[in-house]
């Protein structure tokens, strides 16, 4: 059995090989390793790259980086701790006990420096650097941190940075994320964290017992994260946030043809820079605030659509042929369905489709809704992609909801009545939408029949990815349908009795629809969505004010924004 002998020999050889390697390591190189170990002469100095910057559509920075300084301490000689911490606390003006606690908390290994104070300004950093001659264990480490030149501007689109949490860590560990990594939360920072994030490099070097550098043992170069260019326009974003000015709600400006988001604001907002430091009361306030400033109302919140939904009912009516241009209904201020009275907000007399849109006549749409039936309206809503995420690029997008008779039967064990249809056809009842979904609906009438997919990222690392982002679907609506509705939207502004007549005084021709969505508590939600200029639209606008009152108030906000944009030559 020669094979067995060979294998036997092989095993003896491998053991001899191992034995000799051990001899090599312990005896021949033993002295070197012993000194390395005795003095623990290995220092690791991490060097971080810069996180990718975020630019607006013109290439102006919305978010960039600046240098900050961290105070690190090598926790090797425990006897000196008290002296070092005392000296440090004098410079920083903190108590010695605080520093000690941080030291204890973040201790990993005695060869790894511990950050005991972060984000020190330059003056203090220099003062600390001078301490180094007495205490060689002090390291001042420069580190790039996020800088937000415009404070809370576009905070919901950008998101913020913070230490990775347990849930994200378990998900991302396989992609090279570690505990204590700084990752994006919400917005672009979270969605594109993988591209934006920098790669940590570092230096491994030997020092003598006084901490003086002797030689480099290894080096890994840090890498910067990739820069991103957004479709946002800084100018427009500023105007929009000024227009929204401390009113709870959201505003979206979108290019009706491509789906590029020009501006997206949500209020209350937050200043992402508060998250760069430790957990402070201001962060806790953000999380506990009942107005939920971290929620992006443009995509994360769902609300009843109100009269804006009439656009979909009108489309359904014209497309199915249940109503046409000569259909008129008589509005006497209310109608009776069964024994229940459903009111209109005014008495409009005879109304055709364009007039009904312009005056937002409820009775017209009650009757059209009854003609169409709830299922048809539901089906058309789905054609406009309601009731599901767009999908948009920001995380945690809400899907909204469109009710149907079958749903009511299955989930609520109740029958669908004509009263429900009537409510449904003016966008009340169980219907829920996000402001971005509504901006998308109105864009269909601005670009004559195409459902665009809104997007935010235009370029990644110098490369233009717009072509990749653009997803446009033809809804195959009849040109007539689009014409009537667009005319109706224009008349809402032109007609002295139109709901959006406030906007008629502008130098820009605007078309749009207001909405006043009744809610169970408090003031109704105020909506305005439209597009401008009427011929060759450049922007779709959607203003939503949470509990903001009648649709008129949203119109006023839109007016301010459009006026300001015209002044700054953006249109």
């Amino acid at each position: 059995m020669s094979r067995i002998k060979i294998v036997n020999l092989l095993i003896i050889c491998t053991f001899l090989f191992l034995g000799l390697s051990i001899v090599n390591l312990q005896i021949i190189q033993g002295k070197k390793f012993k000194t390395l170990s005795d003095k623990n002469c290995i220092r690791i100095m991490s060097q971080e790259g810069c996180r990718g910057k975020i630019f607006d559509r013109e290439g102006l920075p919305i978010v960039d980086n600046e240098l900050s300084y961290d105070l690190m301490l090598l926790p090797q000689d425990k006897r000196e701790f008290d002296k070092v911490l005392l000296a440090v606390s004098k410079v920083l003006g903190t108590t010695q006990k605080d520093l000690k606690d941080t030291l204890k908390k973040s201790f990993v290994a005695s060869s790894l420096p511990v950050a005991i104070a972060k984000n020190i300004d330059l003056k203090k950093a220099i003062a600390l650097e001078e301490l180094k001659s007495d205490f060689p264990n002090i390291i001042i480490q420069p580190r790039p941190i996020r800088h937000y030149p415009y404070g809370s501007l576009a905070s919901h689109v950008i998101g913020y940075l913070s230490e990775i949490d347990h849930w994200r860590l378990t998900k991302l560990q396989d992609y090279g994320y570690n505990t204590k990594d700084i990752v994006g939360f919400g917005g672009i920072e979270e969605k594109y964290d993988y591209y934006l994030r920098q790669d940590e490099g570092g230096l491994l070097f030997e020092v003598d017992h006084r901490g003086k550098f002797i030689r480099v043992l290894g080096f890994r170069a840090p890498h910067n994260g990739k820069n991103m260019q957004l479709t946002l326009s800084l100018k427009a974003q500023k105007i929009v946030e000024q227009g929204l000015a401390d009113k709870k709600g959201a505003v979206i400006l979108m290019d009706p043809y491509s789906g590029e988001i020009i501006a997206m604001a949500s209020f209350p907002n937050f200043n992402p820079s508060v998250f760069t430091g430790k957990l402070t009361p201001s962060i806790t306030n953000l999380f506990n605030n009942p107005d939920a400033p971290l929620i992006n109302r443009a995509i994360n919140g769902t609300y009843p659509a109100g009269s804006i939904f009439k656009l979909i009912v009108a489309t359904a009516g014209l497309e199915t042929g249940k109503i046409n241009s000569s259909t008129t209904f008589l509005c006497r201020g209310s109608i009776f369905v069964g024994k229940q009275e459903f009111a209109c907000w005014d008495t409009h007399n005879y109304q055709d489709i364009t007039a009904a849109i312009a005056h937002s006549c409820n009775v017209f749409f009650y009757k059209s809704g009854l003609l169409l039936g709830a299922q048809t309206i539901h089906d058309f809503s789905l054609r406009f992609n309601l009731s599901k995420p767009i999908p948009f690029e920001l995380p945690y997008e809400a899907s909204g909801f469109v009710p149907s008779p079958l749903w009511k039967k299955i989930y609520k064990f109740k029958n669908w009545f004509d009263g429900d249809t009537v409510n449904f056809s003016i966008g009340q009842g169980d219907l829920l939408v996000t402001p971005l979904q509504m901006a998308r609906v109105v864009a269909v009438f601005a670009n004559s029949g195409y459902l665009v997919t809104p997007y935010l990222v235009k370029g990644l690392d110098q490369r233009d990815i717009s072509n990749h982002q653009r997803k446009i679907v033809n809804l195959h609506l009849k040109p007539r349908t689009l014409n009537y509705i667009a005319q109706g939207l224009r008349n809402a502004v032109l007609d002295p009795k139109g709901t959006g007549h406030v906007l008629s005084g502008l130098s820009i021709s605007v078309a749009g629809k207001t909405g006043t969505a009744q809610v169970s508590h408090g003031q109704p939600h105020s909506w305005f969505t439209g597009f401008f200029p009427y011929k060759n639209p450049k922007y779709v606008i959607c203003v939503f004010l949470e509990n903001g009152g009648p649709g008129y108030y949203a119109c006023v906000v839109a007016k301010q924004i459009i006026e300001q944009m015209a002044n700054e030559g953006l249109i």
Binding site: F33, S46, R220
Partner: protein, 371 residues
């Protein structure tokens, strides 16, 4: 007394208990300074595992190993089932998963799967034709000799590599080649197979996860990543190297106890041991391991039953490869792949699986005369 030392049962039990005790001492020394209940209990847990392991060893050494022949397919199915379970759990938890919890025990199927695959292959290659007592496999063509059994092992291997546990996956591959070599399959085929796998390597590179590739690259040059994977290797070398001739003495190793060395109680237990006991201790440990493996090979050579012989060889080899790769990894001579050192490293699954394997070995020796 002389008879006692000829008795494989006694020798194997003695050596394995010696090694296990060394292991427990090392685990204790590497964890006793760490705070927290978990770390305090770890060496006591390992004592419990060794105790259970000895019980399992006694049970298996008294069972007739031919019984394994009968339930090979059952074991194979069980192995697949458990691997699949781990895979699914991994999917659900969206992350890597090598084990699942049974009570307070983290059951790690891949340790047992190695053994089951060994049994499976031993059975496959020791089939005899009905009218001839010689082994069938010497007459096999390349399809039946290599491709067919390889298809059987590639499924569990894939699951294990996916876990991701590259070390155990590669182990199974080595084991397969070694068994091929023992069975009398024509050398030509083995060469063809080896060169084919060698050519497929660049393809496999694509299937590796980023961190696995990184580790392989770091193995080639630990200094490219001094903070990550390279850190462990450098610290481990310093730990071993600083042990010198007689070591720093028990409980006085600085590298392993002052948290310089990660995983000092599992994969890098050898470095912990070598730092404290020096060259003398390391050579004694190597000698003990060698004696254990030699026992296995002696048993195999004395056994005439093909199934038993292959199994005994396989078990000796399984131990030899694991020991070699783990120690080489500690010395910075092999990539860091996460293989435990049998009988030394902390871990219930590994300890149990090793004692089961040794029990089977003794059982083969006892019943050799029957066939």
């Amino acid at each position: 007394m002389k008879d006692l030392f000829r008795n494989s049962y006694f020798i194997i039990l003695l050596i394995s208990l010696l090694i296990a005790s060394i292991g427990i001492l090392s685990i204790y020394s590497s964890t006793y300074q760490k705070e927290g209940k978990f770390w305090q209990e770890i060496s006591r847990r390992q004592i419990l595992w060794v105790f259970i392991g000895v019980l399992v060893f006694i049970i298996f050494s008294n069972l007739n190993y031919r019984w394994l022949w009968d339930c090979t397919y059952f074991l194979y199915t069980m192995a697949l089932f458990f691997l699949f379970l781990v895979f699914m759990l991994g999917q659900v938890r969206l992350g890597a998963q090598r084990w699942f919890k049974i009570g307070w025990f983290n059951f790690q199927p891949s340790e047992f799967v190695k053994l089951i695959i060994l049994i499976f292959l031993s059975r496959y290659f020791s089939k005899k034709s009905t009218d001839d007592i010689s082994l069938l496999c010497a007459k096999f063509g390349i399809l039946r000799a290599i491709i067919l059994p390889f298809l059987f092992i590639i499924v569990p291997m894939g699951f294990i590599i996916e876990q991701p546990d590259l070390g155990s996956g590669m182990m199974i591959f080595f084991l397969f080649i070694c068994l091929l070599y023992f069975t009398g399959v024509r050398l030509r085929y083995i060469f063809v197979f080896l060169s084919a796998s060698f050519l497929a390597m660049p393809l496999l590179w694509h299937f590796l996860r980023d961190y696995q590739r990184e580790r392989l690259l770091v193995f080639l040059n630990p200094n490219i990543d001094p903070l990550g994977a390279g850190y462990t290797v450098i610290q481990s070398k310093i730990a071993i190297g600083s042990g010198s001739l007689l070591g720093r003495g028990w409980l006085s190793g600085t590298q392993s106890q002052l948290h310089f060395l990660p995983e000092s109680h599992t994969d890098f237990i050898f470095a912990t041991f070598a730092e404290q006991w020096g060259l003398a201790g390391s050579i004694i440990l190597l000698a003990l391991y060698y004696l254990l493996i030699r026992q296995g090979i002696l048993i195999a050579r004395k056994t005439s039953d093909c199934f038993g012989r292959l199994l005994a060889f396989g078990i000796s080899f399984l131990l030899a490869i694991q020991i070699f790769i783990n120690i080489a990894m500690n010395l910075g001579l092999a990539p860091v792949v996460g293989l435990p050192l049998p009988l030394m490293s902390y871990g219930g699954s590994s300890t149990l699986a090793t004692f089961i394997a040794l029990g089977i070995l003794v059982s083969i020796d006892k019943r050799r005369a029957v066939f």
